[in-house]
């Protein structure tokens, strides 16, 4: 009984092998394997990325443990490394940039989805999406030479005069600083908010609008009380997507944030961000510990963006019922 089973198994195996060779000759199986290899390479690359970051930061992980995350001192000379000033700068610039970009972006998206005629809306959306194609170093260039003088001479003094009693807007202003970086970031993430929000607003079924209008709502009421809540998930998703971008943004922030690893209460003061410190110090890191600390910062940034991106994708998936990972 057993031998027979083995025998048929062998025959089946031989058949399989023969048909495999035939397919290989016709190119079918070869094409399958070749494309499969490339797909597997992506998987491998991503896995390797996580592994490399984890492995290369072993030194600081052993030296400081979790305390690395809330240690305030960053002093490469004495070998003290703490991530808190950078985490603080990264999170604060991102949140402030959201505070600027979300109202503006949502407003623009509502205009494009609800008010503008489709042809004009498409053309304007194309222009806004071009903003996303502008390289970040060019935002940095404009930030350094255009925005920094404006902030130093006009905006910051005005803010200090009007709101200087709040610690948020107190202290001296150099032009470079957390607020300037947030403004640049806000402009950079606007296109993401506008185009994804517009898409979710457009995917709201027509009868929702018509029902509201039929009940006597004005167009604005129909938009604000029916259409926007309906598209809520997609809009929040776009905000998270923008947040992930803002967290990881490097060049523009490096050029205007002031690069000072201090935690200041004022938005006008210089700060530092995770991405910026990696960009500035990576090639100049002299000790292995310094390099490992920078790589661990990279790992923290990676984890942060993966989580936020994941949340964003889930929400957009839920909102439009079609996402990348079906």
């Amino acid at each position: 009984m057993a031998t027979r089973a083995i025998a048929t198994g062998e025959i089946r195996g031989a058949d399989k092998a023969r048909s495999f060779v035939r397919k290989l000759r016709s190119g079918d199986e070869a094409a399958h394997i070749a494309t499969l290899t490339c797909a597997a390479a992506i998987l491998l690359t991503t896995g390797l990325l996580v592994f490399e970051l984890y492995k290369s930061s072993a030194l600081t992980r052993h030296e400081f443990g979790w305390a690395f995350l809330w240690q305030r001192v960053w002093d490469p000379v004495s070998g003290d490394f703490g991530a808190l000033p950078f985490l603080f700068g990264t999170v604060v610039t991102s949140l402030v940039s959201l505070a600027i970009a979300v109202p503006l972006g949502l407003g623009a998206a509502i205009f494009l989805a609800e008010l503008a005629p489709p042809r004009i809306s498409d053309a304007l959306t194309f222009v806004i999406e071009l903003l996303a194609a502008v390289p970040s170093v060019i935002y940095g260039l404009l930030g350094v030479f255009v925005l920094v003088p404006i902030m130093r001479d006009t905006v910051n003094p005005a803010l200090e005069k009007a709101l200087g009693f709040l610690p948020l807007f107190g202290g001296p202003s150099y032009g470079v600083g957390v607020l300037t970086a947030s403004v640049v970031l806000a402009v950079m993430i606007l296109p993401f908010i506008v185009s994804v929000s517009r898409e979710s607003l457009l995917s709201v079924p027509r009868d929702q609008r018509e029902a509201a209008l039929a009940l006597g709502a004005t167009r604005w009421e129909a938009t604000w009380k029916v259409v926007v809540p309906y598209a809520k998930l997609g809009i929040i998703g776009s905000v998270f997507l923008a947040l992930a971008r803002a967290l990881g943004e490097t060049m523009a922030v490096t050029m205007v944030i002031g690069n000072d690893p201090k935690i200041a209460s004022s938005l006008l003061a210089p700060g530092y961000s995770i991405a910026a410190v990696i960009a500035n110090e990576f090639t100049e890191a002299t000790s292995d510990l310094h390099l490992s600390a920078l790589i661990e910062l990279g790992l923290v940034l990676f984890a942060l963006t993966v989580v936020i991106n994941g949340v964003a994708r889930l929400m957009i998936l839920g909102a439009t019922r079609r996402g990348s990972a079906q």
Binding site: E52, G107, R119, P135, L141, T250, I295, A325
Partner: protein, 277 residues
């Protein structure tokens, strides 16, 4: 009722202002770059090597060639891998493995560019022992792959199933069907996506800082550090020299012009009608 009508008008006006503000940012950017960049853009800028720090004149010929070289490497390494993997996902991809690949590509797409730089450093700089054009190409390839996969899969999926069935019914094998029917049908879209993907990484600075590094001279072969436009803009913009600032503007103008040209060209390839609108 009047109050509600006023609210209606005012709120919609505000949204219009938001849209206007957003769009005007692009024109501000363009305006500033043309205003400052065009003044410093001259023949020397395009043909000469950088002068030593503090000395006036010179150009960025090596950085322009460097960006071209890095993009060539990206087009040779990253784009084919992404394209073929995209074909797999669209034509063969089923089940858990395909899901994992899609998920990995999405993950990779969201990784901050500076982290990609660290990864490429570990992958291509540490083993070689020095910065190189090759390492820069690796970094840009890792960035371009997820975008290429996404667009390839998207456009291949949009090809009607009946085309595939027609080819199969005529006796073509699956691989032949894909190569001679499906891919040509989606070629226009894939080409557009590829142009956009390469254009996007052309402006990346962060992943090049510690892979390709920079170079004040010509870079020979593929294993020397190499200058690129984005890194040059960064270095020149944060330098204390006025002449370098001017050149940073000029380089910014060149880079942005490349970017806009690629975007508009891509849009015209995709839909000749929409390009005119």
């Amino acid at each position: 009722m009047i109050l509600r009508k006023i609210t209606n008008a005012v709120m919609f006006m505000l949204t219009g202002l938001c849209a206007l503000a957003t769009i005007s940012v692009l024109f501000f950017i363009l305006g500033y770059l043309v205003y400052y960049g065009a003044r410093s853009l001259n023949w020397a800028f395009l043909t000469q090597l950088p002068k030593p720090a503090g000395e006036a004149g010179g150009g960025m010929a090596n950085a322009i060639a460097g960006t071209a070289k890095l993009l060539l490497l990206t087009a040779l390494m990253g784009v084919p891998i992404g394209f073929v993997a995209g074909v797999y996902l669209s034509e063969y991809g089923r089940g858990a493995f395909a899901f994992a690949v899609r998920y990995a590509a999405d993950l990779l797409n969201g990784v901050p560019s500076i982290v990609i730089g660290i990864f490429a450093y570990a992958l291509a700089v540490v083993p070689l022992g020095h910065f190189s054009a090759f390492a820069g190409g690796v970094a840009l390839s890792i960035m371009v792959i997820p975008i290429t996969i996404r667009t390839t899969e998207q456009f291949l999926r949009a090809v009607p199933q009946s085309l595939r069935e027609g080819a199969l019914a005529l006796g073509a094998s699956k691989s032949r069907t894909i190569a001679t029917v499906v891919i040509p049908a989606a070629m226009r879209g894939i080409l557009t996506g590829t142009i956009l993907a390469v254009a996007r990484v052309a402006g990346e600075t962060a992943p090049l800082l510690f892979t390709a590094f920079s170079n004040t001279y010509w870079s020979h072969g593929w294993l020397e550090p190499i200058a690129s436009l984005p890194v040059m803009i960064f270095n020149y913009a944060i330098s204390p020299y006025d002449d370098w600032h001017r050149q940073a503007w000029a380089a910014g103008l060149v880079l942005l012009a490349l970017m806009l040209a690629a975007n508009i060209a891509a849009r015209m390839i995709l839909s000749p009608k929409a390009g005119r609108a």
